[in-house]
C-alpha cells in the first residue's frame, strides 16, 4: 500500500488534477472547487474499486499506480497516472457496466458525480472545461 496522503495540500491536489485528462482543459481557478470535492483514497494491489452492476457514483483520477478496467473478463484499458476512469457513469448515470481493479498499490482521487454536477451547474467554466476534457479523451479513443 502507498503511504497515505500524497497530496498534503490543496495546491498539490490542484496541480495533479490539472494534469488529468478530463480536467486538463478546465481553467485553473475552477480546479480549486474540484479539489474541494476530490478525496484521496488508497487501494491495494488486487483490490476491486467497483464491479459490474454497482451504482455509478464516483469519478476516479489516478495519482499513482495502475487500474485495470474490464467488462465480462475482457480487458478494456489500463488507467495509469494522470488518467481518469468511471467517466461513462458520469455521463450516463447508470449502473457500472465495467469492473475496475488495482493492478498495483494505487492512490486515487475520488470525485462524487453529484458533487461534480453541482459544481458544473454553478460554474459554467468547469462545465466547459470538463466537456473539452471529455472530448479530448474521446478523440484519443477514436
Amino acid at each position: 500500500m502507498p503511504d497515505a496522503k500524497i497530496f498534503p495540500t490543496t495546491i498539490e491536489k490542484i496541480l495533479f488534477i490539472k494534469k488529468v485528462d478530463i480536467f486538463s482543459e478546465a481553467i485553473p481557478e475552477s480546479l480549486l472547487h474540484v479539489a474541494s470535492i476530490a478525496n484521496e483514497i488508497s487501494v491495494a494491489k488486487g483490490e476491486i474499486i467497483f464491479t459490474e452492476g454497482d451504482p455509478s457514483v464516483y469519478l476516479y483520477l489516478v495519482a499513482l499506480g495502475k487500474i485495470r478496467i474490464s467488462r465480462e473478463e475482457r480487458e478494456i484499458f489500463h488507467a495509469v497516472q494522470n488518467e481518469s476512469f468511471g467517466l461513462v457513469g458520469l455521463v450516463e448515470e447508470r449502473q457500472r457496466a465495467t469492473h475496475a481493479m488495482a493492478l498495483s498499490d494505487s492512490t486515487l482521487l475520488r470525485v462524487g458525480h453529484s458533487d461534480l454536477f453541482d459544481l458544473m451547474e454553478d460554474y459554467p467554466a468547469i462545465t466547459r472545461g470538463v466537456l473539452r476534457g471529455i472530448s479530448k479523451v474521446l478523440r484519443k479513443l477514436l
Binding site: T9, K18, E29, L32, D122
Partner: protein, 919 residues
C-alpha cells in the same frame, strides 16, 4: 538588412515573415508596369500618327475579339500546364514577340501600329492578371489590406520609371530599340515570377478544398450565374471599362487636335504618364491603405466613380485640354492605385479554386469585351448620330451613376460572402424547444401514458406539468392506482392543477396510501374539494401522528380560514415546530412544501423566513422551492442570502428570477452592494439576466465598471442573454462603448503582465499556475470584449467572428478580421482589429501601452500588485509561482500568506516557503 527591415516596418504595417515575399511582389509589379509604360507611349503615338484617334474604337473592338481567343487559349493551357510554368511561359512568349515586333516595324506598314496596339493591350492584361492572381494566392484579406498598398506602389514606381526611360532614351536609341529594353525587363520578371510561384504551389493545391465539391467541376459561366457577388464584380468591371474607354477616346481626340507632330505627342505622352503615375504613387502611399483600413471597401469602391463623375461634368461643361488631362489623370491614377487594390480585395472571399477559374474571365475577357462594346457605342454614336466629346461625357455621367448604385450592392454581397465563409463552420448556438402540444404530440403523450414502462409514463407526466392536457384526462385516471408512488403523486397534482372536483372519489381512495407524498397530496385535494364535514375530517388529519398528514391539513385549514383568524393556524405550525419527538428536518421540509400551497398573500408565508435561514440545506432547499411559488417580497433578502451557498445557489437564482420585474430594484441594490461577496453579486447578475425588462438591462450596465472580472463576465453574459432572447429591449450603446474601451485597456494590461511574466520566468512555465491563470483570464477578457460587441452589433456576426478567431485557423481568422472590419463602426474598428490582428503579443503590448498610457512595471511590483487584489485564487497562484520559480525577492509575500484567513492560501504559502528554503 536588419535596419532595412525595421525601416520597412516603420513605413508600412508589415510582419517579419511577410517581408521577403512582399519585396519580391513589389519588384514583380514594378517590372511589369515599367515594361508596359515603355511600350504604351510608343503604342499611342504610333497609332495616332499612322491611323488617328477616330480609329481608336476599332482597336477597342479588335482587342475585345482577340482577348476572347486569348482567354480561351490561356484557360485551356492552364488545364495542361502547372501554373508556375504557364506564367513563365507566357512571359517568355511576350519577350520573343517583342523581338519580332522590332523587326516588323522596320517594314513601315501602317496596320502594324493597330496590331501592336492590340498586342500591348493583351500583354498588359495578361501579365497584370497573372500578377494579381499570384497576390491573391499569397495574401489573406487582412494581409491584403495592409500590403496591397505597398505592393501596388511598386507598379506605380514602375510606371514612372518606364515613362522616364521612354522620355529620356527614345530619341537617342530609337523607338524600335525601346522594345528591347522592355524585353530585358521581361527576363527579370521571369525569374521573380518563377520564385514566387514555386513558393505558392502547395497553397494552391490545398486550397481547392475551399469550395463545395459540386462547384469544382462547374463551368465558369455557371459559377458566375450562381454568385450574385461575382455578377456584381462583373457589372462594375464592365461599367468601369466602358467609362474608361469613353474617357480614353475623348482624351486622344483632344490630344490629336492639340498637338500637331508625332514628337510633340510622344513628349506629351511621356510627361503625362509620368504625372499620372506620380499622382498614383501619392494616392497609393498616402491614401490607399488609410482609406481601406479606416473607411473600408464601401467608401473605397465609390471614390473612382465619384472622381470620374466630377471629371466628366467638367468635360461636359468645358471640353478642353485641361479638362481632358484632369479626367484622364483621375481615371488612370485612381484605377491603378486605390481602385485596383479595392477590386482585388473584393475577390478575397471567393474560394480559391473558383477564383482561379473566374478571375481571368472577369479581368481579361470581360474588361476587353466591355472595351469592345464601348468601341461599338462610340462608332455608332459618332458615325450615325454625329455625337461629339460633350455627348460622350454625358453618356459617361449616366453610366457612372449606375456604377455608383452598383457599388452599394457589391459591398452588401461582399459582406454576405464573408459571412457565408464563416457560417459554413458555424455550430448553431441554441435550439429552442416548443412547449405547445399539437395533435400529434397529444397522441404521442396519450400512448406514452398507457405504456407498460413507468419511465415512459413519468416522462409523459413531466411533460404535461408544463402544458394544457384536459383532453388526456381519461388516460390519466388509471394512473392513480399505478404501483409507482411518484406516478400516483404526479397524477394527483395534475388533477389539482385542473381544479375539477370530479376526481374526488378516486382520490379519496388514496387517503390511506402508504406513500407520504401521495397521502399528503391526496389530503390537500380532498380538503380542497370535499363536501363532507370539513371540521371533523380536518381534526383527524391535524392530530395525525404522521407529519405530512398534519402539514397537509394545515394547508387545508389555512386556505379555508379568513385572514384575521389565521392565528389559530399559526399555533398549529408553532406546535409542529416545537414537537421534540418529531424529526425536525422532516417537519420543516414538509411545512415548507405545505406553505407553498397556502394561497397568497398570507401572513403564514413569513414562516418561510426562518426556514430559508435554517442551518440544514435540505430545509432551505424546500423553503426556496416554496418561496418561488408564493413569491412574497418579504422573502427576497433571504433568498439572496441563499445565493452564497453552493447547494442552494441555483434554486435561489431560479426562485428570484420567477419574481420578475417586481424585485428588480431590490436586486440591483444587492448587485451594487460592495459588502456582498462577488459570487453572490454574480448570481444576482444572472438573476437579472432572466428578467426581460429594460430596468434590468440598465442596472446591469451600470455595474459593468466593477473591478472583478468574474462579476463583469457574469453581468455581460446576462446582458447577452437578455439581448439575444429579447432583441426588442433597448440597450444604450453609448455607455457600452465606454465599458468596451475600458475592457480593451484591461486586456492590454493583462497581456503586458503575461509578457513580463514570460520574460522573467523560464523555469517551469507549464506547471506555473499564475501563467496559466493569467492566460485563461486573457481568454476570458477577449471573450468579454466580444460579448460587449455582441450587445452593440448583430450578435450573429460577432459570434461567428469570435469563434473563427478563437479556432485559430489562419483563413478563418482572416475572414473574421474582414467581417469585423466591415461591421464595426469607425470609432471601434481600430481598437478591436488591433487585438484581433495576427501581430505578436509584444507588439500588441506596445500598442496598448501607447494607446492607454499603461505603465511598464517591474515584475516584482506586478506580482505584488496581483497578490493585493481581492481574489483568493490569484493569491494562491502568486504564492505558487513564487515557490515554483524560487523568487526570493517575493519571500515576504509568502510569509504574509501564512497569516491569511483562507486555509488554502495558508497551505500554499507554506508549500511555497518550503520550495524557497530548498534552494
Amino acid at each position: 538588412m536588419i535596419r532595412a527591415k525595421s525601416l520597412l516596418r516603420k513605413v508600412i504595417d508589415i510582419r517579419d515573415d511577410e517581408i521577403g515575399t512582399s519585396i519580391l511582389m513589389f519588384f514583380y509589379f514594378f517590372a511589369i508596369i515599367a515594361s508596359y509604360y515603355i511600350l504604351k507611349p510608343v503604342r499611342n503615338s504610333l497609332f495616332l500618327e499612322q491611323l488617328g484617334a477616330k480609329n481608336l474604337p476599332w482597336v477597342y473592338i479588335g482587342t475585345a475579339s482577340i482577348i476572347g481567343f486569348v482567354v480561351f487559349l490561356y484557360n485551356n493551357l492552364s488545364k495542361y500546364f502547372d501554373k508556375r510554368y504557364l506564367v513563365s511561359g507566357t512571359i517568355i512568349f511576350f519577350l520573343l514577340n517583342l523581338i519580332l515586333f522590332r523587326e516588323l516595324f522596320k517594314l513601315n506598314v501602317d496596320w502594324f501600329s493597330a496590331l501592336f496596339y492590340i498586342w500591348v493591350s493583351v500583354y498588359s492584361v495578361l501579365l497584370i492578371s497573372q500578377f494579381w492572381m499570384t497576390a491573391n494566392v499569397i495574401y489573406s484579406a487582412p494581409q491584403a489590406k495592409r500590403l496591397f498598398g505597398f505592393i501596388g506602389s511598386g507598379g506605380i514606381l514602375g510606371g514612372i520609371t518606364g515613362g522616364g526611360i521612354t522620355n529620356s532614351i527614345a530619341t537617342s536609341i530609337g523607338t524600335e530599340n525601346l522594345l528591347l529594353v522592355s524585353a530585358g525587363i521581361l527576363i527579370f520578371i521571369v525569374f521573380i515570377a518563377d520564385r514566387l510561384n514555386s513558393k505558392t504551389r502547395i497553397t494552391q493545391v490545398d486550397s481547392t478544398a475551399d469550395s463545395k465539391p459540386d462547384q469544382q467541376d462547374e463551368s465558369v459561366s455557371k459559377i458566375i450565374l450562381k454568385s450574385k457577388h461575382l455578377q456584381l464584380i462583373g457589372i462594375i468591371i464592365t461599367l468601369n471599362i466602358m467609362v474608361s474607354s469613353f474617357i480614353d477616346y475623348e482624351f486622344n481626340l483632344i490630344i490629336e487636335k492639340s498637338f500637331s507632330t508625332i514628337d510633340e505627342r510622344t513628349a506629351f505622352f511621356g510627361s503625362f504618364f509620368a504625372l499620372m503615375n506620380v499622382t498614383s504613387l501619392i494616392i497609393q502611399v498616402f491614401l490607399t491603405s488609410m482609406v481601406l483600413k479606416r473607411y473600408g471597401i464601401g467608401i473605397s469602391l465609390i471614390i473612382l466613380p465619384l472622381g470620374l463623375l466630377i471629371g466628366s461634368f467638367g468635360m461636359f461643361i468645358y471640353p478642353v485640354l485641361l479638362s481632358a488631362i484632369l479626367l484622364k489623370i483621375t481615371d488612370g491614377s485612381l484605377k491603378y492605385s486605390l481602385d485596383n487594390s479595392t477590386r482585388e480585395i473584393m475577390y478575397l472571399p471567393i474560394p480559391l479554386n473558383l477564383k482561379l477559374k473566374v478571375k481571368p474571365l472577369l479581368d481579361i475577357f470581360l474588361q476587353r469585351f466591355a472595351r469592345g462594346i464601348a468601341g461599338i457605342i462610340i462608332i455608332v454614336s459618332t458615325t450615325f448620330f454625329g455625337l461629339g466629346i460633350v455627348h460622350m461625357a454625358g453618356i459617361s455621367i449616366l453610366i457612372i451613376l449606375l456604377w455608383i448604385f452598383t457599388t452599394f450592392g457589391l459591398k452588401k454581397e461582399y459582406l454576405n460572402s464573408v459571412r457565408d465563409l464563416l457560417r459554413s463552420r458555424e455550430i448553431l448556438p441554441e435550439h429552442a424547444l416548443s412547449r405547445t402540444i399539437d395533435a400529434s404530440t397529444s397522441q404521442m403523450l396519450s400512448e406514452a401514458l398507457k405504456s407498460q414502462d413507468n419511465d415512459t409514463i413519468l416522462y409523459a407526466l413531466k411533460m404535461l406539468e408544463s402544458t394544457s392536457f384536459k383532453s388526456l384526462v381519461p388516460t390519466l385516471k388509471p394512473l392513480l392506482t399505478n404501483k409507482l408512488p411518484e406516478i400516483r403523486q404526479r397524477t394527483i397534482k395534475l388533477f389539482s392543477k385542473i381544479g375539477d372536483p370530479s376526481f374526488l372519489p378516486d382520490i379519496e381512495k388514496l387517503l390511506s396510501d402508504e406513500n407520504y407524498g401521495v397521502l399528503s397530496d391526496a389530503i390537500q385535494y380532498v380538503c380542497m374539494y370535499s363536501d363532507k364535514d370539513k371540521e371533523i375530517q380536518l381534526s383527524s388529519f391535524l392530530n395525525s401522528p404522521d407529519i405530512r398528514v398534519r402539514c397537509a391539513a394545515i394547508v387545508c385549514v389555512a386556505n379555508s380560514t379568513p385572514k384575521e383568524e389565521l392565528g389559530k393556524v399559526q399555533e398549529y405550525i408553532d406546535n409542529l415546530l416545537s414537537d421534540k419527538n418529531a424529526d425536525q428536518t422532516l417537519v420543516k421540509t414538509e411545512l415548507a412544501r405545505s406553505l407553498s400551497s397556502v394561497k397568497s398573500p398570507s401572513p403564514l408565508h413569513d414562516n418561510l423566513i426562518n426556514l430559508l435561514q435554517d442551518k440544514d440545506s435540505i430545509v432551505r432547499i424546500a423553503a426556496i422551492k416554496a418561496s418561488q411559488k408564493v413569491q412574497a417580497e418579504s422573502l427576497v433578502p433571504y433568498l439572496i442570502e441563499n445565493l452564497t451557498d453552493k447547494k442552494t445557489v441555483t434554486l435561489a437564482r431560479n426562485a428570484l428570477a420567477k419574481y420578475g420585474k417586481r424585485i428588480i430594484t431590490l436586486l440591483s441594490n444587492a448587485l451594487s452592494d460592495e459588502s456582498q461577496n462577488i459570487d453572490t453579486r454574480s448570481a444576482i447578475a444572472r438573476v437579472l439576466g432572466k428578467i426581460p425588462e429594460e430596468m434590468a438591462v440598465k442596472y446591469l450596465i451600470s455595474n459593468l465598471g466593477h473591478d472583478s472580472p468574474y462579476l463583469r463576465y457574469n453581468i455581460i453574459k446576462s446582458l447577452n442573454k437578455l439581448h439575444n432572447r429579447n432583441p426588442e429591449l433597448n440597450i444604450e450603446t453609448g455607455s457600452l462603448k465606454k465599458f468596451l474601451i475600458e475592457e480593451v485597456r484591461r486586456y492590454y494590461e493583462l497581456l503586458g503582465i503575461i509578457m513580463e511574466n514570460n520574460e522573467v520566468e523560464k523555469k517551469n512555465q507549464t506547471d506555473d499556475l499564475l501563467f496559466t491563470t493569467l492566460q485563461s483570464r486573457l481568454e476570458y477578457s477577449f471573450e468579454r470584449i466580444f460579448r460587449i460587441l455582441a450587445l452593440i452589433y448583430d450578435p450573429s456576426d460577432i459570434y461567428q467572428a469570435y469563434h473563427a478567431i478563437t479556432q485559430g485557423e489562419k483563413t478563418l481568422r482572416a475572414n473574421a478580421y474582414e467581417l469585423l472590419d466591415n461591421v464595426l463602426d469607425i470609432d471601434l474598428k481600430e481598437l478591436i482589429l488591433q487585438i484581433v490582428d495576427d501581430t505578436s503579443s509584444k507588439r500588441k503590448v506596445e500598442i496598448g501601452r501607447a494607446r492607454f498610457g499603461i505603465e511598464k512595471k517591474p515584475f516584482v511590483q506586478l506580482i505584488t500588485e496581483l497578490y493585493k487584489e481581492p481574489d483568493i485564487w490569484l493569491k494562491i497562484a502568486v504564492l505558487h509561482t513564487i515557490g515554483i520559480n524560487k523568487i526570493n525577492e517575493l519571500k515576504l509575500l509568502a510569509e504574509n500568506g501564512l497569516f491569511s484567513e483562507n486555509n488554502v492560501i495558508r497551505e500554499t504559502a507554506e508549500y511555497s516557503l518550503k520550495l524557497l528554503r530548498a534552494v
